[in-house]
Amino acid sequence: MALLEVEGLTIGIGRFTPVQEIGFSLDRGAVLGLVGESGSGKSLTAMALMGLLPLIRGEVRAGSIVFDGVELANRPAELHRRLRGRRIALVTQNPMTSLDPIRTVGTQIDEVSRLHGGLDGRAAKARSLDLMEAMRIPRAAVVHGQYPHQLSGGMKQRIVIAMALAGDPDLLVADEPTTALDVTVQAQIVRLMVDLVKARGLALVLITHDMGVVAQACDRVVVLYAGRIAEAGPVESIFAAPHHPYTRALIGCIPVEGQARGTLIGIPGQVPGLTDYPAHCRFAPRCPAASARCRAEAPAPATIGASRVACFHPLGRGA
């Protein structure tokens, strides 16, 4: 049985339903990519996994989140709190603002193993230093006593990851962990996280808008568009033969070495706002292949090869 099984997950905030019927499963030692533009519902899904939706006045309206055999959707806050940090850990998007600016980064890592591992101050510090070294932080003993503003973005993100690992979790949820970093640092951090997953038998939900990161790190991919799944499948088949026009467009956004100047393609238009989600296929307004049917009804996901695709005119099927 998979470590994490999400089915029909629907998230509501007030009268809006920004995430509808998302499902995926994830085994230990595997990396799942959750891909989409801003507003696609990636971060809300992460908050739902963490049980942190109440912080933003959100709630799970339907569906289930089964973690290690335990249903998490709409369970008491205390159940979530006991899992957080200890079994499910979060790496947030912006390392610049994710750390408490007035406490040393070391004490912020120590805190986790003191809380969950019951370690005393000295043991917690020793453990933090080990984790920092595993995160390839040079001069860990010095950095341990420094404040966030004294460190670079990449260093801070390493600290945040070390902090996530300190509770020895089974599942790591990383919400755009490299977006705020320099390009040169991005690849290092992704590599480091993938290595950790393999070495420690963690499961990783990697949220990103960067198909390049997906190609580098993930085993499976879920492509979200405007709160719904557009396409999901193993990373090889998604890249080799994308079936959803949106997936293909996303892949087209990755710059390729040797590509002729001016051939980098963007996706025209933008993700619809929460208030004006169309009742029909949500990608239709931006889709080059959209037909009258696409503007009339919403496609249900169907299996094509190894993938699930929600499209009336899937590519590579002679649509």
């Binding site: 957080r84 940090g85 979060l90 750390l99 007035i102 805190e111």
Partner: protein
């Protein structure tokens, strides 16, 4: 840190000079002068000249200012024209009463204000929060002279719990402290609540939750240090208020103090006393700001690093 402290002290010099000049000018530019109070109606112009010369009031303002400042720097604030005592003695005699009232009121408003504000923030959005903050708003609107009279009426006259006025025993301090303090409680509670609510929205708080900390622990161990920073800044600015802001309250309760001294001397245009009092208050504000900044640096490593 020490270097910063010394630099801050040096920076205070021009501020002090400007402040003293403004104090001096304000006092002298207000219509009327102490001679008016000393002369009998119908006194001759010669008599007026004579008195003005005696107190040096016939010399150019710049000269008067220079002489006053020079003496002030050596700790001599001159002789009161009407009260006929050294100004320094008058201030020293009144200062302890002002300090007792001001410091007690400050302590009271800080302890109560921070507790109330923190409780309101912890239960933000609940009926408790709404009731408390409505009460706070009312409290901040009450004029202190009116509140003082009300206190006297209820607690001194009707219930007989505390003395009506004066400063002869410690319990005479209770009503004035409450009167001054309630406005402070309102201010500090509002600042505290706002600070808590603001810091609770920052990204790092999400991560604190993600670590599995309880809400109570996040609030009382982590957020509290952030929320107290603006409170400390406010307290630093309130030092002037400690020394002389309770003017009307001293008056209502017929307490001695810098405020009472200042009011009396203003009415009589007793220049040296007014100048001396204002100078003390100005220095109090300067000192308070300095202490507030240093406390800020002690609490926030980012501020510390920006200094060095």
């Amino acid at each position: 840190m020490l270097g910063y402290f010394v630099r801050r002290l040096i920076m205070l010099l021009p501020v002090f000079l400007a402040m003293s000049a403004i104090v001096f000018l304000i006092v002298h530019l207000v219509p009327g002068d102490p001679i008016d109070h000393m002369l009998q109606i119908g006194a001759s112009a010669e008599r007026r000249q004579e008195l003005a010369a005696k107190f040096g009031l016939d010399r150019p303002l710049v000269v008067q200012y220079a002489l006053w400042l020079k003496a002030a720097l050596t700790g001599d604030l001159g002789e009161a024209i009407i009260l006929k005592q050294p100004v320094v003695d008058l201030i020293l005699a009144n200062l302890p009463y002002s300090l007792a009232l001001g410091l007690s009121a400050l302590l009271f408003s800080t302890v109560v204000g921070v507790s109330v504000g923190a409780a309101a923030a912890y239960f933000a959005g609940s009926w408790f929060d709404r009731v408390v903050m409505a009460g706070i708003l009312m409290g901040s609107m009450l004029p202190s002279f009116w509140l003082g009279l009300l206190m006297i009426l209820i607690f001194a006259v009707e219930l007989g719990l505390f003395p009506v006025s004066g400063a002869r025993s410690w319990d005479a301090l209770v009503l004035p402290v409450l009167t001054v303090g309630i406005g402070g409680v309102a201010l500090i509670a509002r600042v505290t609540r706002a600070a808590f609510v603001e810091v609770a929205q920052q990204d790092f708080v999400t991560l604190l939750h993600a670590k599995g900390l309880t809400r109570r622990r996040i609030f009382f161990r982590h957020l509290v240090r952030h929320a107290l920073m603006p409170v400390v800044t406010i307290l630093g600015l309130k030092v002037g208020w400690i020394l002389g802001g309770a003017v009307t309250v001293e008056y209502v309760f017929a307490r001695p103090g810098l405020g009472s001294l200042l009011i009396t001397s203003l009415g009589q245009r007793d220049y040296p006393v007014v100048q001396g009092c204002l100078l003390m208050l100005g220095m109090g504000v300067m000192l308070g700001t300095l202490v507030g900044d240093l406390a800020q640096a002690a609490m926030d490593p980012r501020v510390r690093d920006r200094m060095s």
